[in-house]
């Protein structure tokens, strides 16, 4: 158990049976009143955030969270299947649990999978992944400006804004934290 005075930004806690991460934290103490900790916490199961004030007397749970490196095998509908590279044991995470990360998983990629009470709940992707552009307007050769963009799609249908010089078949680097185009890795068909 944690006591409220252990709380700090970044700490993962269990509250009412759900794992949360503290994303904002503020010590407050009204005149003559008790010490309290005003926090914003992110639900690690759903990704949603909420505000919550913890009082000093509250006991806060330590969540049973572990991280394991698993390999992404395949997606079947909304189920994303990961396997242990040594035991081949398979674990399923739903698209909803993955949130935006679902678009950036590359086949055979090794990712850190977060388990809560033995069940996989989330993954941590590398900051950058590479994906091929499968659909976009023809590229404008020589236009190297990156601030003017056009819509494009990657194989799984994710829409991304890319600079005008990008063509179908180009491989681009995507920042998984923002979901945005970073740079071009290689060109496809000439």
């Amino acid at each position: 158990m944690y006591s409220a005075s252990d709380l700090r930004k970044g700490l993962k806690i269990e509250w009412e049976g759900t794992p949360f991460e503290i994303t904002e934290f503020q010590f407050v103490k009204p005149g003559k009143g008790q010490a309290m900790y005003k926090t914003r916490i992110r639900n690690l199961l759903t990704g949603t955030t909420q505000e919550r004030t913890f009082r000093e007397v509250e006991k806060i749970g330590k969540p049973d969270l572990i991280e394991r490196d698993l390999q992404f095998s395949y997606a079947h509908g909304d189920d994303f299947v990961f396997s242990d590279p040594e035991t081949y044991e398979e674990y399923t995470i739903t698209a909803e649990q993955l949130g935006n990360n679902r678009w950036f998983i590359v086949e055979d990629m090794i990712v850190a999978v977060l388990f809560f009470n033995g069940k996989p709940i989330d993954i941590t992707l590398p900051y950058f992944i590479e994906k091929e552009i499968t659909e976009t307007e023809p590229g404008v050769r020589g236009d190297t400006a990156t601030n003017v963009t056009k819509p494009a799609f990657i194989d799984n249908g994710y829409e991304i804004a890319v600079p005008l010089f990008i063509s179908q078949g180009d491989v681009v680097r995507i920042d998984t934290r923002t979901g945005k185009y970073a740079d071009r890795v290689s060109t496809g068909r000439k």
């Binding site: 005075s5 407050v28 103490k29 009204p30 005149g31 003559k32 010490a35 505000e51 004030t53 009082r55």
Partner: protein, 314 residues
């Protein structure tokens, strides 16, 4: 190591305008009290019996403690016949660290005999205006929450009205200790206006601390708190002068602290003795100097108005 030293020097240099404002503010405070015929005194910082309160923890120091407030010593002087006293100095509260908390902070306290919390409110109004004039040459200035005008009427809100308005219930009619503190910081304080000073007044009796029961409305205590730019700055009372009531509150708070496994400080017998001998009707206030300087200079954190912040683990 050298880099860290450069950062410390850079920080001290950057602080200069605020430390100069702090100096101006202290000068204005002393000038105002001088003009009003107050006596500035210094009472001990290391004491045997810090005032026992439910949620204030004293820092042990040798066989004694560092004071959490100079309150009891100042009241002993009032009982001895002094009528207008003030003190500016450090106070210590264990474990309080945050954007507007520091375990060591500067407190201004003043007391008047033959007065109630209403006269203290008049004092405070004049004093804050004097500080604003000294610093800004005006009663309006920009805080970190926008413009404030301390020249217009201050907003007075009873705790009952404020809770009904912002939290939807009345803690005077039906006390709920747990809900009171949480709703105060989550709903009431964030709702208070920032464009003028706000006085939250007439606290429920269980939140009276050392204030006396109201003569007009026996359901509440004569206590108010001043907010500037959404930040609590000062706490004022018509002081409790009844020794039996004071001893009873000590026992209640002691029992509550024991239940929560908190240390119970010895009763201040010299103070109780002074009450028995006769503390005249009086009123007083504790005002956080660092926070006042924050509000006057638009600072968002206490660290921006103090030269040093020594961090010692609890």
């Amino acid at each position: 190591m050298q880099n860290r030293n450069l950062k410390r020097t850079a920080r001290l240099n950057a602080l200069k305008p605020r430390l100069e404002a702090r100096h101006q503010c202290l000068k204005a405070i002393r000038a105002w009290f001088d003009q009003q015929g107050f006596l500035e005194v210094e009472t001990p910082i290391r004491i045997p019996s810090p005032a026992l309160e439910q949620y204030i923890d004293a820092e042990p120091s040798g066989q004694g403690f560092l004071r959490t407030s100079p309150e009891f010593h100042l009241k002993r002087m009032l009982a001895a016949g002094y009528d207008r006293l003030y003190q500016i100095g450090p106070c210590f509260r264990q474990g309080e660290r945050g954007a507007i908390h520091h375990p060591e902070f500067s407190m201004l306290e003043w007391y008047r005999t033959g007065a109630t919390y209403r006269e203290i409110l008049d004092d405070t109004t004049q004093l804050i205006r004097a500080c604003a004039r000294a610093l800004h040459g005006s009663l309006r200035w920009e805080t970190h929450r926008g413009m404030i005008d301390v020249g217009q009427d201050w907003q007075r809100l009873t705790v009952a009205d404020a809770f009904q308005q912002y939290a939807g219930w009345d803690p005077v009619a039906r006390w709920d200790a747990e809900r009171f503190d949480v709703d105060l910081v989550e709903k009431v304080e964030p709702g208070l206006p920032h464009d003028r000073p706000v006085i939250l007044m007439d606290y429920p009796l269980p939140a009276a601390a050392f204030s006396r029961r109201s003569r007009l409305n026996p359901g509440v205590a004569e206590r108010w708190e001043l907010y500037l730019a959404g930040m609590e700055i000062a706490n004022a009372y018509s002081e409790l002068t009844d020794p039996d009531e004071q001893a009873m509150r000590y026992e209640q708070d002691a029992a509550d602290r024991r239940r929560r496994g908190k240390p119970v400080y010895p009763r201040d017998e010299a103070f109780l003795q002074a009450l028995h001998e006769g503390l005249p009707e009086c009123a007083g206030i504790a005002l956080g100097v660092d926070r006042l300087v924050m509000a006057l200079t638009g600072a968002e954190t206490l660290d921006e108005v103090v030269a040093f912040r020594e961090i010692i683990p609890d």
